[in-house]
Structures are given as structure tokens and as C-alpha cells.
């Protein structure tokens, strides 16, 4: 079955994204990693949709891409504003909510 290969690819991309989101020291790269995780999910959706002969998976993937684009726009704007305020894009410096 082709499905397994797609799923393995998806899992690899997701883990890479997760690692990036956790480990990168630049907020833009963290956002990029999150995009990677979303792409992994999209691959899953498309793969399952094809395997089950169902269009809903692909439609869903399109929605996710759209939302992700909007989300990246907002996310980058926030990152920009943070950089303007604290002159840093390192997520470790954003610890205002420390308990």
C-alpha cells in the first residue's frame, strides 16, 4: 500500500516540525516549523482521502492551507511587533507570563 509511505513521510515531517518548534531560537523559524507540522497533517488528510476514495480529505486540506496562510500572516505580524518592542525574536526572551 502506498498509504504507509505517505503516513511515514507525514510523521517524519511532523516530528521535524515539532522539533523545530521546540528547539529553534528564532520566532520566525518556530512559525516555519509549525507550518511544517501543518503540512504533515495535510499530507495525512490527502493520503487518507485518496485511500478511502473520499474528496472530503482534499477539501479539508485546502481549508487548512488557507487558514494556515492567514495564521502565518497574523503570526508574522505579532513577531514583528514583538521585535519592535524588545529588539529580540528569541522566544526565550518572551517570558512575561512566568508564574
Amino acid at each position: 500500500m502506498l498509504l504507509n509511505q505517505f503516513l511515514l513521510l507525514s510523521a517524519f515531517l511532523f516530528c521535524t516540525g515539532a522539533y523545530g518548534a521546540i528547539a529553534r531560537r528564532h520566532t520566525v523559524l518556530v512559525l516555519a516549523s509549525i507550518e511544517l507540522m501543518l503540512v504533515a497533517v495535510n499530507i495525512n488528510l490527502v493520503a487518507f482521502g485518496a485511500a478511502l476514495n473520499n474528496a472530503v480529505g482534499q477539501v479539508f486540506a485546502l481549508f487548512v492551507l488557507t487558514i494556515a496562510a492567514a495564521e502565518v500572516g497574523v503570526g508574522l505580524a505579532i513577531v514583528l511587533l514583538i521585535y519592535r518592542n524588545i529588539h529580540s525574536a528569541n522566544p526565550d526572551d518572551l517570558a512575561e507570563l512566568k508564574g
Partner: protein, 754 residues
């Protein structure tokens, strides 16, 4: 049916003193000593209304007689006709009580009324309360002159009177409860009037807390009265008429006896607490710490008779609950009987004149409760009526003795004696009171006490009749001792108690020459004008004992008159049954129906003999006692009459040595010992036990257990919070790490367990 304005507006009677209380309280400081006149005026107005109420009530009873088709039974012949007619029980006339009530509040269809129920009992009590209160108000203007809290005293007296009157006119048991608690509060305020001295405030607390113990019973009982009505009629109510008729109905039907029994037991507890019955009588002697006029009011008209009044008011509950109709022994009669003996025995060993009277009150209240317990309703209430007058007479007489004759002391052995010579008027009035209390023939106490004993015999309570007779012997004996110590012998006040002061003239001279010292002795006494600030008060009583002035004497005259006259309202031997007609409820099936008491010549004879034996014993005993102090007995103070009496009873020394010393002393001492050691200790250890338990509960259960749970929770929460806040680092990527890790764990779990 005619309407009677005063009876319909009887709520004015308690309202006026209540208003007086507020007026004195609010503007009393500006009025100064004139506050007394507000109190006097208001109680005077109430008294006039009460007298008016009596007149209209008698008219009402007369009307009811007419409507029932029988003429008022006056005189022997008509009376015998009535007795003959008694065969037809249905022919009993009906005198409806006058009830006016308005809704206090209602909830879920249950309406609680507040209002007045005026019947013979209420009218009689109104008269007694307002009369005694008026006399006490009047008397106090002299007795309490220059007291530091004169206004406050009058305010409290007014409220006391108002609360007692509220209790008397109450139309529901709930309203009665309100009056009852107010009376308790006022007696607390007045007993502790001189609260600067610790014993006084202790006594006030003791009185309050002891009666509160009984009040538990009242509250429970009053709640149960509601259910008595509910069981009988389907609709619960606190209305006294409904309670009484329901109790009768349930009792006649023989159903719900458990409820009636518990209700009666709870209310009996209330009576025990309030009316100083054994074993909760210990507060009453201590209550002597209050000013003497207050003692008179408490003992004669208000506080303590509230319990007896309650017993009379909801009598059907006791009657049915305790099966009084069956005779034999029931708790109510037993409590009363024990109290008669205990109270009288304790009166022997008191040196304080007020305490003798206090124990005497306990004993007499025992008669009343016993009277109720043996079904002698009319007699018990009649005894309440006569007792109010002669006991107020004795207390106010004791106050007069202390005020003018004994430097504000009440110690008969130390500061009194021989006062007959100095205070002849007080002496005579005191004798009237004593005669009535002892039951000398043709005095008020004679008629009422005999009536209780006679009815006890008729109703099949022979045991309690004997108890009553023994009580009568003891009463006669201790009152003789009291009169002897106070008014006979040599004057022992001032310096006379010093060993070398042999004769009275010398003693009084010395006291006269050294008023400062005598005054100092006076301030050692415990019933001084505001003891804390008393030293500078110009009392003017430092010298020789003298007669009190007319303000004090007038109430004594009036009460002496009543000590005799009050008895002539119910005297079967003279064929007088006014009291029975006017006071005993005649409301058909709504109340217990009592048989008219019949006259037996043997009863009064035995009772008089009992009184004489008591007097004889006391004379013999105290003569014997005085024999050791031969010199004082030969003093001219002892009149020829006394010597004659003493010699006449010389033979009784034989009985005294053989019987009385052998029995009475130990019994009295044993009773006193029981009282002091066992009962007081029981109370003390109960108290200590309660305190200990409370301490244990506080330390281990409350502090460690309950508080421990709460504190532990708080500490644990704090600790957890302190730890978990460390998780909130504010670092995005750590949160992300945790989330990923959590998802990983869930996935793993899913993989394993699925």
C-alpha cells in the same frame, strides 16, 4: 353579647409599661430622679386598667351565667343548689374567653397569630402583677434613692412588668414564649443591678443560665403544642385555646399519648427552670443579690410565677399527658412535692433573712406545682394569688428591716434581733405576712394552702397531702425562727455583736456615738446603695435602728391587709367560691372540668395543727438554743408574753432534744449538704465536664480535626501552587515541549491499551 371595651383593649395593659421603658431609657438621663414618676405613672395606669378589667370580667361572667339560665351562685343556699345541679354535667355554664388576635406572619398556609386572650386567669394575673409592681415602684423611690443607676433601675422595672403582662395576656404559646424570655432577660438585668460586685453579676448569670436550661424545654414544648393541634384538627396552630381543646380531645380519645407526654415533660422542664423547682432551684436563693424590691417582684408577681402560670395556661396538656385524673404519682406532683420539702428544709439553715424567704418561695412554688400536679388547678392558682401578696409583704418587710434597722445587712444573726422594739410597724406587718405564710386560721395562706391539700386528698393523692402537711409544719417552724431572730432577742447590729457589748442600750449608744464606724459596718453589708460608690453617699442610716418612713410602710400596710383579705375569695368553709367562679375556666370541653371543692372540717383542723406543731417546735428549739445565753434571755427586751409562750412550750424541749435535734437538724443539714455538695457538685462537675469536653472538642476536634482539614487543605494547596507555578515558566517552547510530550504519552497509551 355585650362588648367590654377594657377587656377588648387589654393589650393596653402591657403596652403602657413597655412605652414607659423606652421613655425612661431614652430621656431618663435628662429627667433624673423624676424617671421614677414615669414608671409609677405608667404602672399606675396599667393597674387602673387591670382593675377595670376585673370589674368587666366579673360582669362578663355574670352575663354568661344569665345566658346559661342559672343565677350567680352566691351564698350557701344557692351554692348548695348549684352543687345539686352538678349531677347534670351538661348544665355547666360556659364563659367564653375574650380573644383578639391579628396575624403576625404567615408562611405556606400556616398563620401565626399575636393577640390577647382574656379570661379569669389572665385578669387575675394582670391584677397581681400590676398591684405588686406598683407597690414595688412606690417602695423603690425610697429604697433605691441615690442609687447610681436609678433611671436604669426604673426602666428595667417597667420592662419587667411589661414582659410579664405580655406573657399573661398572650393568646398563643409562641407569644407566651416571647414574654417568658423577656421576663428572664429583665430578671437578669435586675438581679445583677449592682454588677460591680462579682457575686452579684455571678448570681445574675446563674439565674439566667439556669432558667435558660428550662427554656430548652419551653421551646421544645411550644413547638410540640403546634403538632398537638395539628394531630387533633389537621391544621397546626399555637393558639392557646386550640392547644387546650386539642389536648383534651386527643386525651379523651386516648390517641397520640406519646406526643402529649413529651410535650408535658418538656413544658414541665420549663416550669422547673423558671419556678425554681427541684433540681433547678439553686438560682433562686442566689437571686437575692438583687435589690430587695426586685426580689419581692420576682418572687411574688413575675419571674417565678411565670412557670406556674404556664402550667395553668396549658393545663390540659399536663392533665392528659401525665394522666393526672388517675391519681397516684405523676412527675408534676412529684417535682412539686420534693420541692416543698427541700425548700422548707433548707430555709432552716439560712442566716440571711432574704434567703429564708427565698427558700420559702421555693417551697411555696412547690405547693403550686404540686397543686397543679394533683389536679387542684383552682387551689394552685389561688395559692399563687395569695402567695403573691404575703410574700411581697415579707420581702418588702425584710427590705425595711435591712434599710432602716440593720445597716443594709440581711444577716439575722449578726445584725438583727430585737427590732420589734425599734420598728413596731414593720414588725406588725411582717407578722401578718408570716401568719399568712404559716397558714394561721383566717389568713389568706390558710385558705389557699388548705384548698390544695383538700383537693389533693379528694383526687386520690393522699401521699402528696401528707407531703404538704409536713411542709406546713416545716414552714411554720422556719418562719418562727426567722421572726424570732429578726425581731426578738437583743439587738445585735452595730457593735453589739462584739462580745463585751452586753446590753442593747449600750450597743445602740455606741453605734450612735460612732456613726462613721457603724456606717462602715453598713457598707460591709451586701445590699448597699450602689456599693462601689456607696462610701460617700449620705445614707443617714448609720445610727440606731429606727422605723422606716411612710413610703416604705405604706406598701407594707396594703400588703398586710391583702395577706388577710385575699383569702376570702375562695373559702369553702364559709361557702365562698368567688375565685372559682371568676378565675377557673368554664369553657366546656376546651379545658379540664374541675369539681367544686367541698368542705371537710377535718382538713383545716389538721393543717392548723400542723402549723401549731411547727411553731411549737421552733419556739422550743430556739428557746433551747437561747438557754445557753441566759443573760440575754433575762433582758427586759423579752416581753412577758414571750416568756409565757416560752414557758408554755417548755415541755416541748423534750421533743426538741429527742426528736427535732435528732431528726430535723440532720435532715436539714443533709438536705443542705445534698444541695451544696451533691447538686451543686453535680452541676459543677457537669459544668466542668462540659467545659472539659468543650476544651477537648476545641483542642482536638475543632483545632486539630476540623481546622486541621481546612488548614491542611490550604497548606497543601499553597504547596502545590508553589510547585506548579514553577511549571509556568512563560517559555513558549517549554510549553510546546510539554504538549508534545503529553501527546506522545497519549499516543503511547493508545497504542498499548488499544
Amino acid at each position: 353579647m355585650k362588648t367590654y371595651w377594657l377587656l377588648d383593649h387589654a393589650w393596653l395593659v402591657p403596652l403602657i409599661p413597655a412605652l414607659s421603658f423606652w421613655v425612661i431609657l431614652l430621656v431618663g438621663k435628662r429627667l433624673g430622679a423624676r424617671a421614677a414618676w414615669i414608671g409609677l405613672g405608667s404602672v399606675g395606669a396599667s393597674w387602673l386598667l387591670a382593675v377595670g378589667n376585673i370589674v368587666q370580667w366579673i360582669q362578663h361572667v355574670g352575663d354568661s351565667d344569665g345566658s346559661a339560665g342559672t343565677k350567680a351562685a352566691i351564698g350557701a343556699t344557692v351554692r348548695s343548689m348549684r352543687l345539686a345541679a352538678e349531677g347534670h354535667a351538661t348544665n355547666e355554664k360556659i364563659v367564653t374567653p375574650i380573644v383578639h388576635a391579628t396575624t403576625w406572619f404567615q408562611n405556606n398556609g400556616i398563620k401565626l397569630d399575636v393577640g390577647i386572650q382574656i379570661d379569669g386567669l389572665a385578669v387575675m394575673m394582670m391584677f397581681v402583677v400590676t398591684t405588686i409592681s406598683l407597690l414595688v415602684h412606690f417602695y423603690s423611690t425610697e429604697y433605691m434613692r441615690d442609687d447610681r443607676r436609678f433611671n436604669y433601675y426604673y426602666a428595667a422595672l417597667s420592662l419587667f412588668t411589661a414582659s410579664m403582662l405580655l406573657l399573661v395576656v398572650a393568646s398563643s404559646t409562641l407569644e407566651l414564649l416571647v414574654g417568658w424570655e423577656l421576663v428572664g432577660l429583665c430578671s437578669f438585668m435586675l438581679i445583677g443591678h449592682w454588677w460591680e460586685e462579682k457575686p452579684n453579676s455571678d448570681a445574675a448569670l446563674k439565674a439566667f443560665l439556669t432558667t435558660r436550661t428550662g427554656d430548652i424545654g419551653l421551646l421544645t414544648g411550644v413547638i410540640m403544642t403546634f403538632f398537638v393541634v395539628q394531630r387533633a384538627t389537621g391544621q397546626g396552630s399555637f393558639n392557646i385555646l386550640a392547644v387546650n381543646s386539642s389536648a383534651m380531645k386527643l386525651g379523651e380519645a386516648g390517641s397520640q399519648h406519646t406526643l402529649l407526654l413529651w410535650c408535658a415533660a418538656a413544658l414541665l422542664l420549663a416550669i422547673i427552670g423558671k419556678s425554681g423547682q427541684f433540681p433547678l432551684h439553686t438560682w433562686l436563693p442566689d437571686a437575692m443579690a438583687g435589690p430587695t424590691p426586685v426580689s419581692a417582684l420576682i418572687h411574688a408577681a413575675t419571674m417565678v410565677v411565670a412557670g406556674v402560670y404556664l402550667g395553668a395556661r396549658v393545663y390540659p396538656i399536663f392533665y392528659q399527658g401525665f394522666h393526672i385524673a388517675n391519681g397516684g404519682v405523676n412527675p408534676m406532683a412529684l417535682v412539686g412535692g420534693i420541692t416543698v420539702i427541700i425548700g422548707a428544709a433548707l430555709a432552716f439553715v439560712q442566716n440571711d433573712i432574704k434567703k429564708v424567704l427565698a427558700y420559702s418561695t421555693i417551697s411555696q412554688l412547690g405547693y403550686m406545682v404540686m397543686g397543679l400536679g394533683v389536679g387542684a388547678w383552682t387551689a394552685a392558682i389561688f395559692h399563687l394569688f395569695t402567695h403573691a401578696f404575703f410574700k411581697a409583704n415579707l420581702f418588702l418587710g425584710a427590705g425595711s428591716v435591712s434599710h432602716s434597722g440593720a445597716h443594709h445587712s440581711f444577716d439575722m444573726k449578726k445584725d438583727m434581733g430585737g427590732l420589734r422594739k425599734y420598728m413596731p410597724r414593720t414588725f406588725i406587718t411582717f407578722l401578718f405576712g408570716t401568719a399568712a405564710l404559716v397558714g394561721i386560721p383566717l389568713t389568706a395562706g390558710f385558705f389557699s394552702k388548705d384548698e390544695i391539700l383538700a383537693v389533693a386528698g379528694e383526687n386520690g393523692f393522699s401521699f402528696f397531702k401528707i407531703v404538704g402537711l409536713i411542709g406546713a409544719v416545716m414552714t411554720a417552724a422556719y418562719m418562727t425562727r426567722c421572726v424570732y431572730l429578726t425581731f426578738f432577742g437583743e439587738y445585735r447590729g452595730g457593735h453589739a455583736s462584739d462580745a463585751h457589748a452586753a446590753d442593747v442600750a449600750h450597743a445602740s449608744d455606741e453605734a450612735h456615738l460612732d456613726p462613721a464606724h457603724a456606717a462602715a459596718a453598713a457598707h460591709a453589708g451586701h445590699d448597699d446603695h450602689g456599693a462601689a460608690g456607696g462610701v460617700g453617699v449620705p445614707t443617714g442610716h448609720g445610727g440606731e435602728p429606727h422605723e422606716s418612713n411612710n413610703i416604705i410602710l405604706f406598701p407594707l400596710y396594703f400588703l398586710s391587709f391583702m395577706s388577710i383579705a385575699a383569702g376570702y375569695l375562695l373559702a369553702p368553709m364559709l361557702h365562698i367560691d368567688k375565685f372559682e367562679q371568676w378565675v377557673t375556666p368554664h369553657i366546656g370541653t376546651g379545658f379540664v372540668t374541675f369539681e367544686t371543692s367541698k368542705f371537710h372540717a377535718i382538713d383545716p383542723t389538721v393543717a392548723v395543727l400542723a402549723g401549731l406543731i411547727g411553731i411549737a417546735i421552733a419556739y422550743g428549739f430556739y428557746w433551747k438554743h437561747a438557754f445557753g445565753q441566759n443573760a440575754s434571755e433575762k433582758n427586759a427586751l423579752l416581753g412577758a408574753g414571750k416568756k409565757f409562750l416560752v414557758n408554755k412550750f417548755y415541755l416541748d424541749v423534750l421533743y426538741t432534744d429527742g426528736v427535732v435535734n435528732g431528726i430535723k437538724g440532720p435532715i436539714a443539714r443533709a438536705a443542705y449538704w445534698t444541695n451544696q455538695k451533691i447538686i451543686d457538685n453535680a452541676l459543677r462537675y457537669t459544668g466542668k465536664g462540659a467545659v472539659g469536653t468543650a476544651g477537648f472538642v476545641y483542642r482536638y476536634i475543632d483545632q486539630r480535626g476540623v481546622d486541621g482539614v481546612y488548614n491542611g487543605t490550604a497548606v497543601a494547596t499553597g504547596a502545590i501552587g508553589a510547585e506548579t507555578r514553577k511549571l509556568q515558566t512563560g517559555r513558549l517552547q517549554e510549553y510546546a515541549w510539554v504538549m508534545v510530550a503529553a501527546v506522545g504519552i497519549f499516543v503511547l497509551a493508545l497504542a498499548i491499551f488499544n
